[in-house]
């Protein structure tokens, strides 16, 4: 099974659309309210980063399976400026926008698996997944 759907992030309200989609998919997979909130919040962080730092991009959501387990994969991709120091942005409190700097490290903790691919000047793709246990 590999159902996928996506939302283009262009305006601030697309962030709301992306997390709505995420919530529906999470419900569909069978996640409980706490995990739904975790997944929705993670999507909100990734989508807002796209909006703030890359201008535009895309949130893609896929239902996945790993052995007997079902789950959800969130892919946030943009063609923005990229991230110079990946280790730094994963530190709690690191921000270049006067934010809380808790977004990326937070997403890593909210989800089970977390991966950043980024090239300076070309863009960033962040994949984060969670399995239903």
């Amino acid at each position: 099974m590999n159902l996928r759907s996506s939302v283009d992030i262009i305006t601030e309200w697309d962030i709301v659309a992306a997390r709505q989609l995420g919530r529906n998919e999470a419900k569909d997979v069978g996640f409980g309210t706490v995990d739904q909130a975790r997944i929705t919040t993670a999507i909100s962080e990734l989508a807002r980063n796209i909006y703030l730092y890359a201008g535009k991009g895309k949130i893609e959501i896929r239902q996945i399976t790993d052995g007997n387990l079902k789950g959800l994969l969130v892919i946030a991709s943009d063609k923005g400026p990229g991230i110079a120091d990946v280790r730094k942005v994963m530190e709690d409190g690191y921000t270049t926008s006067g934010g809380l700097g808790a977004g990326l490290p937070g997403v890593k903790r909210l989800m089970d698996d977390f991966k950043i691919e980024t090239v300076l000047g070309e863009g960033t793709t962040i994949s984060a997944s969670k399995l239903l246990r």
Binding site: E12, W13, V16, R19, T33, V34, Q36, A37, R38, T40, T41, S44, E45, R48, D92, G99, L100, A102, G103, P105, G106, R109, L110
Partner: protein, 252 residues
């Protein structure tokens, strides 16, 4: 119009409406050839507004117009034998009619959309963030719905103005109705609380649902400076205690 036939469309629209539209469309075509520019423009705008009013999708209408134009070219070729000499002048006549028509339709749709969006913005602002005095020195601000940057500003303004106006000593921010508390929302809440502190009051965060509490902790957001409660009711009790009061039962 039947070219781009969308079955659902023709089920929903009565024959009368379709016939009317086709007839008006024909009259419009004649008007563009026989009447002066202003009369045509006025009729055209009425026609466009009518089309939007029917609720047809803009892509359907524009596709129909494109198809119609193609058919006209084909027919002109059949009847008149288009050649280099006359093609230019026929095309000019057709363009003078079809291009304003396209523009007018797009304009009519965007006017309606812009109006809808701005009305919804107003509706949202009316829903947003008013500070309600519930007891002397205690006020509540119930937050309902998604908090974007614009609303966050409004919340801050109303909060500070309200605190001063109602002489509040304790303010309860109720987030029961906020669907997602991410780092941006948390950041705005923290800033609001700091500002409230600066004007001499205390801010409590109430209505934190269990799943929201867990997410906030996992995000690593520090709310230690806040008094937080799960329900508004508990918050009010604590606020009363802070201002040296309590609700007691009295014997009848």
């Amino acid at each position: 119009m039947e070219e781009e036939k969308d079955d659902r469309f023709f089920q929903i629209m009565s024959n009368r409406i379709v016939d009317n539209t086709v007839r008006e469309f024909g009259e419009l075509m004649i008007s563009s050839l026989t009447e002066d520019h202003d009369t045509y423009t006025a009729k055209l705008n009425d026609f466009s507004v009518q089309i939007v009013h029917y609720g047809w999708s803009i892509s359907f209408v524009l596709k129909a117009l494109t198809n119609f134009t193609e058919i006209i070219y084909e027919k002109m070729d059949d009847v008149e034998n288009l050649d280099e000499g006359n093609f230019q002048s026929y095309r000019e006549i057709l363009n003078n009619w079809i291009i304003p028509l396209n523009h007018s339709i797009v304009d009519a749709y965007s006017v309606v959309w812009e109006k809808t969006v701005s009305l919804q913005k107003i509706a949202l602002q009316e829903l947003s963030a008013s500070l309600i005095p519930v007891f002397e020195k205690i006020s509540v601000m119930p937050l309902v719905g998604t908090i974007d940057t614009e609303r966050a500003k409004l919340i801050m303004e109303n909060l500070l103005q309200g605190v001063v106006k109602h002489r509040a000593e304790v303010v309860l921010l109720d987030i029961t109705g906020v669907p997602v508390v991410d780092t941006m929302v948390a950041h705005h809440i923290i800033q609001a609380a700091d500002a409230v502190r600066l004007v001499g009051a205390k801010c409590m965060l109430v209505g934190i649902r269990p799943e929201i509490a867990q997410t906030i902790v996992t995000l690593g957001i520090n709310l230690n400076d806040f008094t937080t409660t799960s329900t508004l009711q508990k918050g009010v009790e604590q606020a009363l205690a802070l201002t040296n009061r309590a609700i007691v039962e009295v014997e009848a």
